[in-house]
């Protein structure tokens, strides 16, 4: 149920979660099912409010993704960024976890839980079919997005053991002197009134405030006497990633007999998309991507396409290609704090995020490989729309990597249990822990990691 901030008895909860989106809810429900009492602390209001949004998501940015981009994908209201989610679901593949301290097998049961939460069948986690030399059909699951609101009954209001407080922001974490844990945290209102919340033994804090918010809370937890909490090795905010989206960056004409193998009925609604097989994936430098095939009409203005069509004759299939790709984690791509604070006292953010040449090159090479494979299979041909790749770069609204998971505190922020290195009672949930991004839409995967964290917190203590 909802509890007004002045009435909250923080002491009675085992887990305090900053945020109320899909990561927060996944941790909360899993831990609650294991007997824990959980409080979600949401900075925003019950309903989306443009004034609150503008005040609490104020970012200065440079690079391919700028200060206008990130706030559009960071909702400051109950339900968090789930309010903006479009419902695309794809799992991270085994090969996408190569740089992570956990494997796909460890994540599997949690991916199943997350898929169930989102109303998607288990087939979406595993189904793939080879298509042409070097590629696989890996559909992306579509469907009604789970947008959490005040009225999502089974989540906020009716679960015994899960409470939510609104208009209270986790604005600062106070570390123990030995930096092995937190002693207290500060919860502030939009009017700037802060309340210090001492942490008792056995209480845990989970940051689930979004890819920007998690880094912001850590980087704001600094009193001038040392590094900000979790930032002892200057890693918080680094490895900022998006999924480079290249809309209509290619076109293919296929003969009637060359059909992408159909996904089973049970897979449900989906986008038809090709991914490189493991061999091609390695050849692309370990960067992943997904090439969506969108049925299109013949382009009468394109005489070369007319030539390709004329060689195929009746039944030719025409598609536009949209690529969702991966950018390598780069410590120089980062969110930092700059002068100024928002109304709850969190530091203003500044980003620098530049997609590297390797990412563009991987897209180009993959499209060339697909073009070769199509040509080898018959009269079909592929066109690369160069300008759409190099001048049309967009994002998916996927904020990843700012509190990266790894075994080494020198190059990461959280460990395999999503625990901030060194801090016994501080954890992170959300796509900010992603060590690499693959091409997969983050929602399902961040929910799986959150379920896993909920299990961990439920079993530990």
């Amino acid at each position: 149920m909802f509890v007004p901030l002045p009435e909250v008895n923080f002491d009675r909860y085992d887990i305090l979660i900053a945020g109320s989106g899909l990561a927060a809810v996944s941790v909360a429900r899993r831990a609650q099912s294991r007997g824990k009492r959980v409080l979600m602390i949401e900075a925003g209001r019950a309903d989306y409010d443009a004034t609150v949004q503008a005040a609490l998501a104020d970012i200065r940015g440079r690079g391919h993704y700028d200060g206008q981009h990130w706030p559009l994908h960071w909702a400051r209201a109950l339900g968090g960024t789930s309010l903006l989610w479009q419902g695309w679901v794809a799992p991270l593949l085994e090969r996408n976890l190569a740089g992570w301290p956990i494997s796909r097998a460890e994540l599997e049961p949690y991916l199943e839980m997350a898929a169930t939460d989102l109303g998607r069948p288990p087939e979406i986690l595993t189904w793939a079919a080879p298509f042409l030399d070097g590629f696989e059909h890996r559909p992306i699951s579509l469907g009604t997005p789970l947008n959490l609101t005040f009225d999502t009954p089974e989540i906020y209001a009716q679960v015994d053991g899960i409470d939510t407080v609104l208009e209270g922001a986790v604005a600062r974490l106070n570390p123990r002197e030995d930096r092995r844990g937190l002693t207290s945290l500060s919860v502030a209102t939009l009017e700037g009134a802060a309340r210090d919340v001492p942490l008792r033994t056995g209480q845990s804090v989970v940051l689930a405030a979004g890819g920007m918010g998690n880094a912001q809370i850590l980087l704001s937890s600094e009193d001038g006497t040392g590094a900000a909490v979790g930032n002892e090795h200057d890693q918080v905010g680094r490895y900022l990633m998006e999924h480079p989206h290249l809309y209509n960056c290619g076109r293919v004409v296929l003969p009637p007999e060359l059909r992408v193998p159909a996904a089973p009925e049970s897979f449900g609604e989906h986008a038809v998309a090709l991914s490189p097989d493991d061999t091609l994936h390695a050849a692309l430098g370990g960067l992943d991507l997904s090439i969506e095939l969108l049925p299109a009409r013949p382009d009468d203005e394109d005489l070369t396409e007319g030539y390709v069509l004329s060689r195929i004759g009746e039944g030719a299939q025409v598609f536009d290609l949209t690529v969702r790709s991966e950018m390598a984690p780069d410590p120089a791509n980062r969110v930092t704090v700059t002068d100024g604070r928002d109304p709850v006292g969190l530091r203003r953010l500044r980003t620098s995020c530049i997609v590297g040449g390797d990412a563009f090159r991987a897209v180009d090479h993959a499209l060339e490989a697909l073009g070769r494979a199509i040509a080898a299979a018959g009269p079909g041909r592929l066109r690369i729309v160069n300008g759409a790749i190099y001048r049309g770069l967009a994002g998916g609204g996927h904020t990843m990597g700012t509190t990266r998971m790894g075994t080494d505190p020198v190059t990461s922020v959280v460990d395999a249990d999503c625990r901030v290195h060194g801090y016994e009672n501080l954890f992170v949930a959300g796509s900010s822990v992603f060590a690499t991004g693959g091409y997969a839409n983050p929602t399902l995967n961040l929910m799986a990691l959150a379920h896993r964290l909920g299990d961990h917190l439920g079993g530990a203590a």
Binding site: G250, P298, D300, D302, L303, T304, E305, G306, Y307, V308, S310, R311, G313, E368, G371, R372, A375, R381, L382, R383, I384, V385, N386
Partner: protein, 161 residues
Amino acid sequence: MTSPRRILSRRDALFALGGFAAGGALILGGTRSLRLARERAFAEEQARRAVRVVRLADDGWLLSDEERAALAERDALRDSDVLEIRDAVDLPGGDFAEERVTSLDACITSCEEDARCMAFTYARTSHPLPEKRQMCWLKSAETAPAVTDTPVYVSGRRDGW
């Protein structure tokens, strides 16, 4: 008041400079027009040589050199032993067969190999209507009068025009 030591007035000096400038411009202008004439002749010669070279921008389609060449040659004219071919001419009517072909060459061959074919018309890939592009109409002798100055068509006749 003028200084007695000044030999040339300021005005004299300006006239002198102006004269030099005008003379120089005439000389330069003469050389320039000669050079331009040479350049124009060279460009015309180049244009004459290049007239049959089809240049295609890199439009991103991944095609082999052979396919590029075939694409460039689709509308290329060729001579025929049995047909007299005229560019930019449409022959309406008299159709007994129509087919979509991959080149003008294929259309000419179709007509050459069909004894009934007394004439043909081919619609170039530049035809504004997509459904007409690369259509090949095989015709009897009973066609309407030829329509000239229609660059999107090529036609031929077996028994002369």
